[in-house]
Amino acid sequence: MTQNPYLWLIPVLPLAGAAINGFMGHRSSKRAVTTVALVFPGLAFALALKTALGFSSAAAPYVFHLAHWIRSGSFSADYAFYLDQLSLVMMLVVTGVGFLIHIYSVGYMAEDSSYSRFFTYMNLFMFFMLTLVLANNYLLMFIGWEGVGLASYLLIGFWFTKDSAASAGKKAFIVNRIGDFGFLIGLFLIIQNFKSLDFDKVFDSVTKLSSGPSTESLLTAVGILLMVGACGKSAQIPLYVWLPDAMEGPTPVSALIHAATMVTAGVYMVARSHAIFERAPVALTVVAVIGSLTAFFAATIGITQTDIKKVLAYSTVSQLGYMFMACGAGAFSAGIFHLMTHAFFKGLLFLGAGSVIHAVGGEQDMRKMGGLRSYIPWTFATMAIATAAIAGIWPFAGFWSKDEILWKAYQANWAYWAIGLVTAFITSFYMFRLLFMTFWGDYRGIEVDSHGHAHAADGHGEPHESPMVMLVPLMILAALSVVGGFVGYQEGFDHFLAPVFASREAAAEGGNHGLELLFMVVSVVVAVLGAILAWVLYVSKPYLPQKIAASLGAFYDAVLNKYYVDEIYAKLFVKPLVDASTSILWQGVDGKVIDDTVNNAADGAQHVSDEVRHMQSGNLRSYAGWIASGAAIVIAYMIWRGVGQ
């Protein structure tokens, strides 16, 4: 077994960065904050790379035991890190993309007054995310799971003086609590039945369970509860509502947490628990159905959004749905593959959107952009690559992973494939719509006043390209979005992950390469059709979309308003809860019971004291009289008792 004594440093280094910036950042110079904020995640990335280079499949999985944590009877949970092909991929994605986004943030957040606070939270997030993916047991994973939720909350509400940002943070936190509730109960079930939370021990017990209805119902329950947790964290139906609101945070946050890494934690958790899911077909079906429905619904909402970040948010929800669909179809490695490529191109899209927003002075509405191609050519070029990648056009990264998902989904159930293909078409359409609305046509952010002078609506001046510190991460991610897919060439990625998933997929491989090739062609054609439709509607005939929207009427309104899901949730859950809390808990329990008890006790004490205080006349001899008569009474009582003896 290869020793890897510095494995624990990979999560701990960003924590050190967070601690230094958190305690001293507000007193240090900006240069020092930047150095700390970049060096620690950078070192973590370097160590992750070194780990990857020295990684040998034969030695995996490697467990690094750092310290005891909980020892209670036969149950134990330790600070231990688990390195296998799956966590290696996740670790590289988190540290690599995370480090790039840190670099980008130096440029993006340069003007912000809470510069050090931002990087403290970012480093803290890196620590928790790496804990999550490297944990050796579910409990440590849960620490990371909650920690990234905390970091996400802090960063969504980063500009907390803005009301919408503060409430978006709260919404994310509360919706995630619902999912975590399911996750926790799932963990309790695992402890109860397998007496351990260590991955190795749990999966070992699961595979050894005798098959039968009781085993299957147990594993189905565990699987569905874990999926509830994944739904919260990875923004799946019905708990996806927090992610679009989370766009209130700074754009690098959206890129790092709400696109590339944290939201994929649910996919990672389901893939990690594949031993449980593989023996619970019902739970797998639930995962696949939730995933495919989410992919489709979120994509349709994405068509109508006009806020550039909201489009990307719904796109993220939709792509996460793809990953769950893959997991549900049993193709865990395809899901992880898409997770990786998605981290590249969606991270890039968000960073590019940030660069666009930066260029036009904080404007996020695509209707006020347009024609930016010539102003910000580098941002345009990288975003175009990312758009092609997410649309699934050959040979960009998204093509390989999406095609593999569709192919595997078809083998599981043709309905998944059909939904996936329709979604791929919609995805291509709304992504090219975003590209065309932002970069083609004329710039719509400038108003021409009566004297013919052009000036920007907010006095920002002409759109300008971002500084190099922001562009370099864009270029690196663009390169990854181009070549990142080739690791999946000829199932290469599958074979790499095969030891983890004990590849039952490989066995199912029909080897029908002709059909597979046809599928590739179909998905590329669908993607190109989506792009052409977007070209027609938003470049060559820009008056058409309004006409179509008008002719669709109520349906269009429903989609534009995100199917009124937020409103329905507000009516169904939030309002009854607020009302009941107001009338029962606040006015009833708190007001009537608790407050009244305290007030009555105080009033009673006052009344009694009012009567008794006359004893305290202040006359010394009356006190002595009280004492003497008291003593006399005691003595008389004792004599009386003594006589009775």
Partner: protein
């Protein structure tokens, strides 16, 4: 040999006189003397019991009481002089600044 009960009755009378004086009198010095009377009433019963049961503890305790009483007399008389200097009276009913 005088029976124990004689001593106890005398002790009770002394103590009762002390209490009565403490309650009735207004002059601080008289009140102070009444306190001494009560202490000595108790002391008498202590030594009476000590002699009757042949236990030295009672007598030793009396010494303690005497020491404390002496200390108390010093402090008390000093306070009385201080009070008289500021208030020019020894009537306790007129020393009532702390009263509501």
């Amino acid at each position: 040999m005088v029976p124990l009960s004689y001593y106890l009755v005398l002790s009770g009378i002394l103590f009762a006189c002390g209490v009565a004086g403490f309650l009735i009198k207004r002059n601080i010095i008289t009140i102070f003397m009444s306190i001494e009377l009560m202490l000595n009433g108790v002391n008498l019963s202590f030594v009476a019991f000590a002699a009757h049961w042949h236990v030295l503890a009672g007598q030793i305790f009396v010494f303690f009481v005497m020491v404390v009483a002496a200390a108390e007399a010093t402090v008390g008389l000093a306070i009385i002089i201080a009070v008289y200097r500021t208030r020019e009276t020894l009537n306790v009913d007129q020393v009532n600044l702390l009263r509501l």
